[in-house]
């Protein structure tokens, strides 16, 4: 396996962290190790006793009281071994599931403080699959590693030691064949690793293609692309089939190969054992100190059987553990992602703000090579209504990201009531804003829970009043359980418009001092919208508000209109002033009425 030294270093680091993760469970780890020793000892002792019984039987002494004594001992050993084995599994489960829980919790907590840049910058599916899938795989690997690696190694060592004690010649024979078994397992594992990688790449490619085409099946059908897609699909499918045949076949060779080596070992033990026995009978002086018997031979044979089994398992465990380490690495990537600059200890809490918002010389861009906002200056005085207009991609939504401190500016300052927002706690800053976005998001839960998000202790009448103001009450009452209707993930069966109404209700209930309305009514039909506008107008009275809209009609009454283009404010003023200016705004506005 060709691996860069860097990769190895990283792997080591990950392994260290996995061990650190286990620290809190040290007593359990010690317990499981002790239990593993008991289990292995029991497993190894039983064939010894059976061998002795067989010797007694061969000697023709079936009712020797010694046999019954041995039966009792074996029964006790089996009972203890079973109990130890079960306890060990139970403890291993406890350790693994707790570690999994810890890791998920840690990763999830991290998500809460990671900058939005991180969340915006990668597919949700990727993060989810790390926290769910990778952690799960990691758990499986860890569990297998725990149960099988440790007991496997113990069994191998124990078997060798007992074999040595029984007959060192036979033990030596087994010992010599050992590396062969390891070598074969390793050889196959390393071959299959690269094939598995290729197979999973091909599978990934196919999944991406399926995701894209099935996800947009309606467009595919509209353009009658079914045949082309099927051809492309078949091409990927063919490749996937080839590589997965190889990876499945080669990985399935491990078992027969080790089984074959097992049978060779078995034959050798039988040969060496039988020869020793014959020699013993024919010329006892040649094998002086060793007392060998058919019973001991059976014991040895059953060891020879048991002995290669852990090799089989360990070879499986190695791939499993490799995989687990890779998964752990992906989880740690999230946990290690630099989080937002935390609120400084001296950060002030912003109480009910007056609403004096000022941006001074603000610079911002999402990526260094693409400038967006440059030297932006805006002053919103308390109670003013600020409208932001401009073509798509001019930076309107970015401005909101900056105001809410979802992103920090690269330069310049933003202040509320004269206080630089970087010196305020994020929570207190955000509590002063009420936000309705174009992208309507609702959490999984009841309608009421969603409405009460900004004011968890709201009374029933407050909730209903807010819903009525947002014109959401009627449709809520038509839902099966009214305010207690559970809405599924991302709004479930509600229409875009209904979701937006609930988002507006959310704000109507908590009414913070500064409002941000980003295309707040884009999904609502015009009749309802008109009524909501009235409610908004009431809401905005006396509150500083920022409004983003395509429909210029909704912003005509603003105190200040900022016309943005390519991240800069190109014009600002009232509607009348801007029209009179005859510039960009004038053009935009008139295009509404152009053919």
């Amino acid at each position: 396996m060709a691996k860069s030294p860097f990769g190895k270093e990283m792997k080591k680091g990950v392994l260290k962290r996995v061990l650190r993760q286990l620290k809190g469970y040290m007593p359990w780890v010690v317990a499981t190790m002790l239990l593993a020793i008991v289990t292995v000892a029991g497993n190894l002792a039983v064939p010894v006793f059976f061998g002795q019984i067989i010797d007694l039987i061969i000697d023709g002494k079936p009712f020797n009281p010694q046999i019954f004594g041995l039966f009792t001992v074996i029964g006790a050993v089996i009972a203890v071994t079973c109990l130890a084995q079960w306890l060990m599994s139970a403890i291993n489960n406890r350790i693994t599931y707790n570690v999994v829980k810890d890791m998920r919790q840690e990763a999830f907590a991290r998500l809460q403080i990671l900058p939005l840049k991180f969340i915006d910058g990668r597919p949700y599916g990727d993060v989810v699959s790390r926290i769910i899938g990778d952690v799960e795989q990691f758990a499986d690997g860890l569990l297998m590693g725990f149960t099988q690696l440790f007991t496997g190694v113990l069994t191998i060592i124990g078997t060798l030691v007992i074999m040595l004690l029984i007959n060192w010649i036979i033990a030596l024979v087994v010992f010599v064949v050992t590396p062969l078994s390891l070598f074969v397992a390793k050889f196959i594992a390393s071959r299959t690793y690269s094939m598995f990688k290729k197979a999973s790449e091909a599978r990934g490619e196919q999944t991406a293609f399926i995701d894209e085409m099935i996800g947009n099946l309606k467009v595919v059908q509209a353009f009658s692309r079914e045949d082309e897609n099927l051809d492309k699909f078949d091409e990927i499918n063919e490749r996937l089939t080839k590589v997965s045949l190889k990876s499945i076949f080669f990985s399935s060779l491990v078992n027969p190969s080790t089984r074959f080596i097992n049978s060779v070992v078995y034959a050798m033990v039988a040969l060496a054992g039988a020869l020793t026995l014959v020699l013993e009978m024919q010329a006892p002086m040649l094998v002086p100190s060793v007392v060998f018997s058919a019973g001991l031979l059976t014991t040895l044979l059953s060891y020879a059987n048991q002995y290669t089994k852990p090799f089989n398992e360990i070879s499986g465990v190695v791939t499993e553990l490799q995989n687990a380490v890779a998964c752990a690495g992906r989880i740690y990537e999230i946990i290690d992602e630099p989080c937002e600059v935390p609120d400084s200890p001296s950060a002030e809490t912003l109480e009910m703000a007056e609403g004096d918002v000022e941006l001074k010389g603000v610079y911002f861009s999402y990526s260094a090579d693409k400038k967006l906002i440059e030297d932006l200056n805006v002053r919103a005085r308390p109670g003013q209504r600020i409208a932001i207009v401009g073509p798509t991609g001019c930076g309107k939504t970015t401005l909101i990201n900056l105001l809410m401190r979802f992103y920090d500016p690269d330069g310049g300052t933003i202040s509320v009531d004269g206080k630089n927002i970087s010196g305020l706690t994020r929570h207190s800053l955000r509590s002063n804003y009420g936000m309705v976005l174009q992208d309507t998001w609702l959490k999984c839960g009841t309608v009421r829970e969603n409405i009460c998000m900004g004011k968890p202790d709201a009374s029933e009448s407050e909730v209903v009043e807010a819903a009525k103001a947002a014109h959401a009450h009627n449709f809520i009452m038509q839902l099966p359980q009214g305010y207690d209707t559970v809405i599924g993930e991302d709004g479930g069966s509600l229409s875009q418009g209904q979701k937006q109404l609930l988002c507006i209700t959310r704000i109507m209930l908590s009414i913070p001092p500064i409002l941000i309305l980003d295309e707040a009514t884009s999904h609502i039909d015009v009749r309802t919208e008109k009524r909501i506008q009235d409610a908004f107008a009431k809401l905005m009275a006396g509150r500083t508000s920022f409004i983003v809209a395509h429909r210029l009609s909704t912003i005509r009454e603003a105190d200040l209109i900022l016309v943005m283009k390519d991240g800069k404010i190109v014009e600002q003023g009232t509607h009348k002033e801007l029209l009179a200016l005859g510039g960009f705004y004038n053009k935009l506005y008139n295009s509404q009425f152009a053919g």
Binding site: I54, I57, G60, P62, F63, F71, G75, W86, S89, A90, N93, Y97, F108, Q112, Y124, I131, I132, E136, T207, I210, E212, I214, L217, K218, Q221, A222, F223, E226, E228, N229, L230, E238, T241, L245, I248, F249, P256, Y266, A267, A270, A274, L277, V278, L301, S302, P391, T392, G393, M404, R430, M435, M453, E489, D525, V526, R527, H550, R551, S553, L588
Partner: protein, 573 residues
């Protein structure tokens, strides 16, 4: 499941060969204890000497070699059959999914379709592989070992049979108890998954409302509940190994005791006792394998059921006879009703209108008024439940979907692009489009500057879903994609919503100036986008409440007036 077996027909040889070779391997394994017994009885006790022993050991090795060859062959055939099976299944499934109608797509949902195609098929593939390899082998060895025991000693055989019964009871009880528990744990895992997804999709809102702590707490609660149920089911299934171990060893004790008596009475040789002991060990190993196999098979059966469900779906779009021709306008809607899934309310209710060639038809109305449904019936994406739609006098269900859709240029509401170059994407509209044709379409769609802004021009890579383009850019590119085929019928389903007014206006003008004069359907929420249409259809809850030109509707249609004035209060007459 049975229906899916046909995907193995191309791999008949492999499907039969794999288990056969496995049986062969198992046979050789069953001989091993007999040979060992012979070594002890004849070689050592019988005094047949060193040569006999060496011979016997060579036979053991030979058995191993033949077993290895058989096993490798079996693994190969099994892998071939399983991989081939899933390849053909995936092909058919993909084909089937592509042929589903819009209402079937709506019903199934993307997530389900993708899961069927990926994880379900994969699960089934490993199921097939495992069944071919083990399903014959494990029962055969268990049975074989039992029969061999009977041959050695009927009494001992009885003991072995009884112990197999007990083992099966233990294994199945544990499985019966733990499978539903696993399902429950799986359900809790789904809860944790959706909590994770939610915190990502709702990051802005959650942070705006300072809900980080509550989110973490509720996640931790779900996570702990998941851990608890996993621990419980883990504890139950952890019983499996110790219990089987105990039963097998108890059986060995009984066997040895019974054997001892029979050896004393001369009914059994010492070697045979050892052979019995060995058979018991083999049974233990195989039963554990079988238990794992059954779990995989149960899972595979569930997957197979889900896949069959899709494969058995019938095409739901009707097709009529092409012979019936009618007189009249180019496109005619005659009392069209559309009903989704037998709902109580029609999505379109008794809609009638006509459109002449080259006309522009505007469609307006509130959310859920049926605008998208209306335009989706023209390319026959949905069947009408009553009435008929005629194009050039022929019912849309009689034209042939492919031919009909080739004449339509459709710009869907959701502006989606596909992975590939910009050129590839535009070529969706016309496979053999030249760069000149593409440039023409881009110009008409106001998308020239989108291409110009990208360093790669037409060769610029488009990421999956078109993520590297803004919403407005995507909309213009999807319009170009529809225009490049110079469609007879152009359908714009709210496709300018992300465009600013100036661009929107330019777009409408350039569409009007298209030399091939398509019949255009424009769905919009804004009156500005449709006010110059030749005919405007105003929809409300699936019904037409007004048909006519802008000025007429302003006078005659209260809903239209309301919509318009909510956008342009200054123009109140």
């Amino acid at each position: 499941m049975r229906k899916l077996l046909k995907y193995l027909t191309h791999y008949k040889l492999q499907t039969v060969a794999a288990p056969l070779f496995k049986l062969l391997e198992a046979c050789f394994e069953l001989f091993v204890p007999i040979v060992v017994a012979a070594i002890i009885d004849n070689g050592i006790k019988g005094g047949k000497g060193v040569e006999y022993i060496i011979c016997a050991c060579l036979i053991l090795v030979a058995l191993g070699v033949v077993g290895l060859i058989a096993a490798v062959a079996a693994q190969y055939f099994a892998a071939r059959a399983a991989v081939g099976f899933s390849k053909e299944l995936r092909h058919d499934l993909f084909k089937k999914l592509q042929s589903l109608s819009f209402s079937q797509i709506d019903n199934l949902g993307t997530a389900r379709m993708v899961t069927r195609m990926t994880s379900d098929v994969n699960q089934l593939q490993s199921g097939v592989n495992l069944v071919l390899r083990l399903f014959m082998r494990s029962p055969f060895i268990v049975l074989g070992a039992m029969i061999m025991s009977f041959v050695l000693s009927p009494l001992a055989g009885g003991v072995v049979a009884a112990s197999i019964a007990v083992l099966c009871a233990v294994i199945f009880t544990i499985m019966l108890v733990s499978i539903p528990l696993y399902k429950k744990a799986q359900g809790k895992l789904d809860g944790v998954t959706s909590a994770t997804r939610e915190t990502l999709t709702g990051a802005r809102v959650l942070r705006a409302f300072c809900k980080e702590r509550e989110e973490t707490e509720s996640f931790n609660a779900r996570n702990t509940a998941l851990k608890k149920s996993q621990l419980f089911v883990g504890g139950v299934s952890a019983l499996m190994n110790p219990l089987t171990y105990a039963v097998v060893n108890a059986t060995i004790i009984i066997l040895l005791y019974v054997g001892a008596i029979q050896v004393r009475d001369g009914l059994l040789t010492q070697g045979a006792v050892i052979a019995l002991y060995n058979y018991m060990s083999q049974i233990l190993v195989e039963l554990i394998k079988l238990a794992n196999l059954i779990i995989t098979i149960t899972k595979s059966f569930a997957c197979a059921g889900r896949i069959s469900e899709i494969l058995e779906m019938q095409p739901s779009l009707s097709s009529g006879k092409p012979s019936e021709e009618h007189e009249g306008a180019y496109i005619q809607f005659k009392n069209v009703c559309v009903n989704y899934n037998g709902g109580a309310v029609n999505a379109l209710d008794n809609v009638s209108f006509t459109a002449e060639k080259g006309q522009t038809i505007g469609i307006i109305g509130g959310t859920g008024a049926g605008k998208t449904t209306l335009v989706n019936t023209i390319p026959h994406f949905y069947d009408v439940s009553a009435g008929e739609i005629l194009i050039d006098g022929v019912n849309v269900n009689a034209i042939g979907d492919e031919k009909l859709r080739a004449e339509c240029g459709i710009v869907p509401q959701n502006a989606v692009l596909f992975e590939g170059t910009l050129r590839d994407n535009i070529k969706w509209g016309k496979k053999d489009a030249t760069d000149d044709e593409i440039a023409e379409a881009l110009k008409a769609a106001q998308a020239e500057d989108v291409v110009a802004s990208k360093s790669g021009g037409l060769d610029e890579r488009v990421e999956q879903g078109g993520k590297n383009f803004s919403g407005g850019q995507r909309q213009r590119l999807t319009i170009a994609r529809a225009l490049v085929r110079k469609p007879e019928i152009l359908i714009l389903d709210d496709s300018a919503s992300a465009l600013d007014y100036a661009t929107d206006a330019n777009l409408r003008q350039s569409i009007k100036a298209l030399p091939y004069k398509p019949t255009v359907f424009i769905v919009s929420q804004r009156t500005s986008s449709i006010r110059h249409a030749d005919k405007i259809i105003v929809l409300d809850d699936g019904k037409t409440v007004g048909v006519g030109k802008h000025e007429e509707l302003l006078k005659s249609c209260p809903l239209y007036r309301e919509i318009h004035h909510s956008q342009y209060p200054e123009e109140v007459v």
